[in-house]
Structures are given as C-alpha cells and as structure tokens.
C-alpha cells in the first residue's frame, strides 16, 4: 500500500467489454484510494462506469468483461491476480455489497434469518444455531421490529424499505472492511430513502467500515460521504472532500452535475440536465471526453486528454481550465454562489477560492 491509511487502492484500471459492435472501453484508467473508515462517494451520470468499477472490485464481472490493465490492491493483496476461490473468501467477509433493488435481491424462497446467517456459516464456519443468533442481533441492529418473530418470515412479507434493511444486515453481518453500496436507495420511495440513509449513517458510526457509496444523485452525497469522486465516460474527472466538490468544484462536468441537483428553489420544476450525451465508448474521443458538451471548451480539449491538476492536497481535477496557460473563466452563477459560501466558511476571499489551482 502506498499509504498506511488506505484499505483499497485502485490504479489505472481498464475494463473492456466484448460486444458484437466491438470493444466497449467502459473503464479507462480509473485510480482512487479508499481510506480506513471513510465513505467515498462515486457520482456520475448513467453509464459513466460506476457499477462496472465496483463489480470489478468484487470480482463479479459480466462474462464478456476483460480487464485490460491496472491493479486493485486490498490490504497489500492484488485482487486482480486472485483465483475465484480466494476472491469468494473475501466476498461477503472482507468486502460486502448492498444491492440496488431490495425487491429482487433476496431469495424469495428462503427465510430471511437464514439469508442473514448464510455469510456467517460460509466464512466463520458457525453452526446454524449460533449463526441464527447472530443474524437475529444483526436484524435488530438494522431496525427490523419484532425481529425474533420475523426471522422465519420470507422476503415477500416485508416492505421494500424493510427488505433493504435485511440486505444491509446481510452485508454487515461479517463486519466487512469495505462495504460497496451501489445506489442503495434508488429503487425506494423518497421517504423510505431518507430512512435508509439515516440508518446507514447511524451504522457508520457504530461500526468502523469503509464505504464506497455509488449514486447519480448528488443530493444524498453531502449527508453521507467524506470524499467524492466524479466519474465521466469511464474516467474519474475530479475528486476531493465533500466540501471541495460541493463548494469549490473545478471541472465543468461537476458544475453541470451540481447545477442539475434539486434544491429547494428548483423543487417541482424540471431540472436543467447537462445538454448532450456521453460519448460512444466503443470509440472514445482522443481528447477530453466531455469536450463536446463543455460550454467552456478549449481547443486543447479536443486534442489531448487533460492530466489531473492539483487544487489542494485532497482535491484534484482533470480539466485544462486549471492549466496556467488557460484563459480565466467565470463558472456558472450558481457555482459562484457556492464558492462565496465556501469563502465565508473558510474565512478567505472569493479570489483565493477561485484561484485555488496551481
């Protein structure tokens, strides 16, 4: 591990899919770290590669997936070199996953207690009785009321929100080091969403787990994450702490995402989404993939991919706008508002915030 505090290090990951139309380059040089105990949010539009990234970490890729390069290190162990047997020893034990749709992710014919107990029996070799006792404790922890009586119920006897609590219990039961939550609330009603997020936040303080939290809804990120990575067209284009991404974003794509975020004033109105569509990953563009949709596009964007420019020790963005030679642009009004708030928060001038880049 490059850093003592890291639990997971993804470096230059490349994943392609073989399709009839050709090779889809879904993940193009993704690198990020996950620190012990932190929650990292990965945000980005649909198709940006969030799910493929996490599936690759779990070692559960589609049959037509091909890892074209890079490395994924978990506690100094290279996951990409592990056999399937070694990997399944980690799955559900060291690295667990919370799925998106609770209506379909539980086995309809197995009692829920047994489903929660299963990872205990697989990884800790517990007998059924001990495992069921632990499962019961877990179900109580995630807020299943009257858990003793309900442990022998089947999934269809629970509501969506309750089922997602059960899925969370399954993920947590072996005290994993890493939890991957891929849009864990997208399939739920808004009110239930909030409850599940509250539960996750509450559990986060009780157990010391790192979380990769995937969403395309920036609205839920602020309350959940410590750091944010923004993905576009198979690349991470900006990452930083929650404050840095929310109040001082540098990449025009992040500006677009933030502007299309629902706020109190825009509630009910149609949201401005970023115009245009993501590039075809069968044949990704040579330069910055966001260039065709970028209102602040520079000539160099179409020629060369921007490297990461350092904004602070924790904040990096891959946009040519941060290059010394680039013309100075004023971000959209909403973003300037955010920067003002941030300046006040930090007790510095707006200028200093805007010129944060090197």
């Amino acid at each position: 591990m490059e850093n003592q505090n890291d639990i997971l290090e993804v470096r230059d990951l490349k994943v392609n899919f073989d399709t009839y139309a050709g090779e889809v380059k879904a993940i193009r040089d993704v690198s990020f770290d996950l620190k012990k105990g932190e929650t990292l949010a990965i945000v980005g539009e649909s198709g940006s590669g969030k799910t493929v990234t996490t599936r690759t970490i779990m070692g559960l890729m589609a049959n037509n997936a091909k890892i074209a390069g890079g490395s994924i290190k978990y506690k100094d162990k290279e996951l990409l070199k592990m056999s399937d047997k070694e990997l399944s020893g980690l799955r559900g034990n060291d690295i667990a996953e919370i799925f998106q749709d609770p209506m379909t992710s539980l086995d309809p014919t197995m009692k829920i207690g047994r489903q929660v107990a299963e990872p205990l029996m697989i990884h800790q070799g517990l007998d059924k009785k001990t495992a069921m006792d632990k499962a019961l404790k877990m179900l109580k922890l995630v807020g299943i009321t009257n858990a003793e009586a309900r442990i022998n119920d089947f999934p269809h006897q629970f509501s969506g929100g309750m089922r997602q609590r059960i899925v969370i219990a399954i993920a947590l039961v072996n005290n994993p080091e890493i939890i991957i939550a891929d849009e864990p609330t997208t399939a739920l009603d808004v009110t239930i969403q909030a409850k599940i997020l509250d539960l996750m936040n509450e559990l986060k303080t009780k157990i010391d787990t790192s979380i990769i939290f995937i969403t395309h809804d920036l609205g839920v990120v602020a309350g959940m994450a410590d750091r944010v990575a923004v993905m576009y067209a198979g690349k991470i284009v900006e990452y930083g702490t929650v404050d840095e991404i929310f109040y001082n974003p540098k990449h025009p794509y992040t500006w677009g995402l933030l502007n299309s975020m629902p706020t109190i004033s825009t509630k009910g109105n149609s949201l401005p989404s970023i115009p245009g569509t993501p590039p075809d990953l069968l044949d990704p563009p040579k330069g910055d993939a966001f260039a065709p949709r970028n209102p602040y596009v520079l000539k160099i964007d179409t020629l060369e991919q921007p490297p990461f420019f350092k904004v602070s020790n924790t904040h990096y963005a891959a946009t040519w706008l941060l290059d010394k030679r680039a013309p100075k642009v004023t971000p959209p009004a909403q973003i300037v508002e955010r920067q003002k708030t941030y300046a006040k928060l930090k007790g510095v001038s707006l200028e200093q915030v805007q010129n944060g880049g090197e």
Binding site: L60, S88, A96, F99, T104, M110, E118, I122
Partner: protein, 309 residues
C-alpha cells in the same frame, strides 16, 4: 386450508358433473348405434335390446338415470361385454395404466430436471447443445413412433425386454420409456429456461457477493427456485401421458384403460366410453388439485396469501 380444500373439492365435483353431461349428450349426437353393423337383427330384436339397456326411454330420462348411477359408481353395463359392468371393467384395468403413467411421470420429470439443470449450468457449451437437441427430439417424436422404435430395437433385435406382453416390472420398461419421453423433454426445456432465469437474478448475484461457491449457489438458491414452477407443468404432462397411453398400451398389448378406451370407441360401446371419459377427467382433476396443494406448500409466496405476488 380446510376452506380452500372444500372449495377445491366442490369445483372438482362440479367439473365432473359438467364433463359427464357433455359426454352424455355428445354420445347421443354421435352418428351410428352399437347395433349399426348388425344387419342380421330384426327390428323387434333391436327393440328388445334397446329396452334391455334403457335406450327406448326419452333422452332426459336416460340422462337422469345415468347421473344417478354415476354418483353411486354405477356406469351401466358394457355393450361389448354384456355381462360386465363398466365399473368392473375400469377397475380391473386401471392398475396397469396407473403403474405405467406414474412410472413414466416420475422418470420423465426427474430425468428432465437433471438434464435441464445441467443444460442451464453449462449453458452455451456443447453439453447444453446436446441436451437441448435431445429434448427437442423428445418433444417432436410422437410417443407411438418411439414405442414402435423401442419395441423394434430393445425388444425384437436386442431382446433385452419382452414386447407385447404384461407381467412383472420387466414388461413395463419399454412402454414406460415411450411414455416418459415427452414429460422428460418438456421438463428439461422448462427447467433449463427457469434455471437460466434464476441464475441471472439479483438474488443469485447477492449469493455470489456473500461468498458462496458455484455448488453452494446452485444447491442452496438456484435449484429450489427453479424447481417450484415445475409443479405447474405436471398437470399438462399428465394429460400427455393419458393420451399417449391410449396408443402405447395398444402397441404393447397392455391390459389398461387406454387400450380399452380405443377398443370401446371402435365398437361404439357408449357406457364404457363415458365411464372412461369420466375416469380420465377424475384423474386429471385429482392431479391438478394435488399439484396446487403441493405448490402452496412449497412456495412461500402463495403459502400465506393464496396467490402469487
């Protein structure tokens, strides 16, 4: 459960009543009489025979008489074997047919489940292709063709099994295989599709994320979920076996009700045809009732609510 069962039994009786009524009047509408080919009989002799069997009475009275008899298990006397009540004819022959049918059902469904599951697990490999071809053959070759082929190969040429005789278990092997082919093929196809669906489902993905191995996933999650829907095709398969048995029993000269049914039709033996039709309907109703009950017991989704969500 008791309420549900009594409701189902009521429907069973209702179905049998309707079947009885329809068969009765269809028989009346059929051209020809049992005496059609008996030109040597004089009109008065015919009249006497009609009287003997009650055929001179008005149709509605014949119908009521028949219904009354049917309730007590009396289906009249066979026209063909005038000394034999139809009920005796059925019960002396039904054992052989039941044995064949049940054997064929069990062997066909079990083999189909195994082959279908293997096809799904190894999908898109040569194993899958082979099992698919076998099941397509099983569906498309009619049971009487298969019966004749089996009789020829294993009976006449290899002499492994007796042909056209009835005795111990040895005598049942070839006809059972002939009858089992279709249930086997249908089950294999159905099982393969179900299991592929299940293997692609989110809960299997979650099972993998829990760290279960392939065998654990199949054994603990995939099999049970793909087996449950198999119960729904047992009813239709029973129909297949019943119709198949009529021909197969004839080919292997098995003294069962299928063979009798064909004979009765050829001789316009109305009481026997009707008795057997009601018997077949009864067996089918029982199979459907049993499969529904079993489905309710093993599928937790309908166990409580009574219907699937």
């Amino acid at each position: 459960m008791v309420k549900y069962l009594s409701k189902r039994v009521f429907y069973l009786v209702l179905t049998l009543f309707i079947v009885t009524t329809i068969t009765f009047f269809m028989m009346k509408l059929m051209p020809g009489t049992p005496l059609t080919n008996q030109e040597k009989l004089s009109p008065s002799e015919i009249h006497t025979i009609y009287q003997q069997y009650g055929l001179d009475k008005p149709v509605w009275q014949q119908y009521l008489n028949y219904l009354g008899g049917a309730v007590t298990g009396n289906f009249g006397t066979s026209f063909q074997f005038s000394d034999q009540p139809v009920s005796y004819l059925i019960f002396s022959r039904i054992g052989a047919s039941l044995q064949l049918g049940i054997q064929a059902m069990i062997i066909g469904v079990l083999a189909g489940i195994v082959v279908g599951a293997i096809g799904a697990i190894k999908r898109n490999t040569w194993v899958d292709t082979t099992t698919t071809i076998i099941s397509i053959l099983g569906v498309s070759v009619p049971s009487f063709v298969l019966a004749v082929l089996l009789q020829n190969w294993f009976g006449l040429q290899l002499r492994w099994f007796p042909i056209a005789e009835w005795g111990g278990i040895n005598y049942t092997v070839l006809p059972t295989l002939a009858l089992a082919a279709l249930p086997f093929a249908e089950t294999a196809r159905f099982m393969r599709t179900e299991m592929i669906d299940v293997l692609n489902s989110d809960y299997i993905e979650l099972a993998k994320a829990k760290g279960l191995h392939q065998t654990g996933i199949i054994y603990h999650h995939a099999l049970r979920n793909s087996l449950i829907p198999i119960i729904t095709i047992v009813g239709p398969l029973a129909v297949n076996i019943m119709t198949g048995s009529m021909v197969v029993e004839n080919i292997f000269s098995i003294p069962g009700i299928g063979e009798q049914f064909v004979k009765s039709i050829l001789t316009n033996d109305y009481p026997t045809i009707m008795g057997l039709t009601i018997m077949y309907s009864f067996m089918l109703c029982v199979v459907l009732l049993l499969t529904d009950i079993v489905y309710g017991i093993i599928d937790p989704r309908i166990r409580i609510t009574g219907k699937k969500d």
